[in-house]
Amino acid sequence: MMSIEPVLFYIFSTILVIAAAAVVTVRNPVYAALCLVLAFFTCAAIWLMLEAEFLALVLILVYVGAVMVLFLFVIMMLDINLARSKEGFIKYLPAGGFVALLIFIEMCIVLGPENFGIEVTGEPLKHAADYSNTKELGVTLYTQYVYPFEIAGALLLLAIVAAIALTMRKRPDSKYQDPAMQVAVRREDRVRIVKMATEKKQ
């Protein structure tokens, strides 16, 4: 009897490949972002089948839930000139297509079953129901991989510093309120009593 797993795998991977191809080929950038969401979803499903439950859920929560939503916002906010981004597409298609095809064929040769087939790598380990994927991941991450984990933390701090350094600017013409000054204001600052002679009606 054939198990359900290969069937599910082929369904998900077919959708994944089609969605990934659509990301770079569809005309509308909003559709492209949505196709990327679909690709993430199916990818998460495949990870789930590999018993990487935590990573699969994180992929959906972080990438689909947060990153892609932001992406969609950015795409909708910006006025992207589609005609310009497609400029020269036909001109570069033969060379680019040829190189892509070449790399594709090479990848097919290298990544085929003789190198990565189930006979070579062995069947993935099956774990019991009480096996906690999250715990294992956490233990490895905070013990064996603590050094790369810390560097990744430094990288995030750097990203924040860089982003603020490049985008924050104090504009001299921007108007803002300073509550301290508002509270400390005195009558003399606001009202000026001007003595002037009475005007006569002409």
Binding site: I109, Y145, P148, A154
Partner: protein, 478 residues
Amino acid sequence: MAFEIPNFTPALPEIFLLTMICVVLVVDLFLTDKNRSITYLLSQATLLGAAVLTVVVQSAVPEYTFSGMFVNDGMGTVLKLFIYLSTAVVFIYSREYLMERNLFKGEFFVLALFSVLGMMVMVSANNLLTIYLGLEVLSLALVALVALNRDSSISSEAAMKYFVLGAIASGMLLYGMSMLYGATGSLDHTEIASFIEQGSTDDIVLKFALVFIVIGLAFKLGAVPFHMWVPDVYEGAPTAITLFISSAPKIAAFAMLMRLLVEGLGGLLVHWQDMLIIIAVLSIIAGNVIAIAQTNLKRMLAYSTISHVGFLMLGIIAGTSDGYSAGMFYVIVYALMSLAAFGMIILLSRSGFEADTLEDFKGLNQRSPWFAFMMLITMFSMAGVPPTVGFYAKLAVLSAVVEIGLVWLAVLAVVFSVIGAFYYLRVIKFMYFDKAVDTTPISGAYDMRAVMSANGVIILLLGIYPTGLIALCVSVMP
């Protein structure tokens, strides 16, 4: 699961640096523009402290910690010390330049120190993951530095090119690394090396991984045919940043080549040797020939960097201990020369004026004979004319290549460095035989002029007595 607390001592310099980055970041918040020099002094003190710690924790035999992800060995110590030195010199050279251009801000120092951290991680990496993370810290900090002058469109364009091409290169490198993991089942350099030693080197997956890794590395090094970003970034970035990019990160790039190709994939020498030969030959040819056509000094030096990267690879191509130490000697010497050359552009620049065209060097001898002489030494050294140190650097890598029987490669490299001598000599001709167009006296702070002079004198002195530095490079190679 039993877990041993890792030994933190070998990584003390990195820990100290990261702590000090946070301190600089916070202290800078409370400073006004008038007191910004405190940030500068604090950054210099940080580099000094890291250098002291690096010397204190050095170890003659390789010392591994953090589950084998971090290695502390002689090569790492020496390269780290030269990274601190060149960064400190960059800070000294660029202080006035940045002040005049309103870029003398805390961010500059924080980002530069972050990139030093990335370089240190790369230098000490013994794992694919750490080498990649170190590289990302370095690249991200450099991209932000290039774009720091936000109102300049040429800087933004340069940063964009650097970022996009850097991302492509990272993608290539990561794909190669994932293949390597697929083939060997490990991210650890030591384990990968022993896997390759046991198995056959003809594994097609390993070769496939190697191609992507070499392409990624060539992109990051700026070697032909992956060099397109180098001239644009060098020209577009503020000169102080170009000075930085062209010095310390080259030392880190050498460390990356050593850690990844030699220590991790040393068993595949026969395969990456051929790939690197092609890249090195193309770099030496294209770098030297295209540099002749440049009128902008920064672009010219960018193409000269490309050819120097080719020479640097020659040492690694040799695949012998002599070759590696020659490569290390070359990269240290290159960093020194690059500091002197870009430092001179900064010295001649002033508020609202960039001395980055060849014309600006016309008649420098009349304006300042001493600094014209310093530039003369630097240019001679870059061209490889004795008795400057550049000659010994070229000699060392060439003799390493000749030793393994690749005489044609050495001959070709010599022929093209003679062609390359043309554009270095042209600068000298402009300085000594042309009349000065611009007769403003050379300004510049005293510390900068002193370090600049020391820099030039060291290039000359190392050329007369190169044995000390060569012996140091030989002693730290396995």
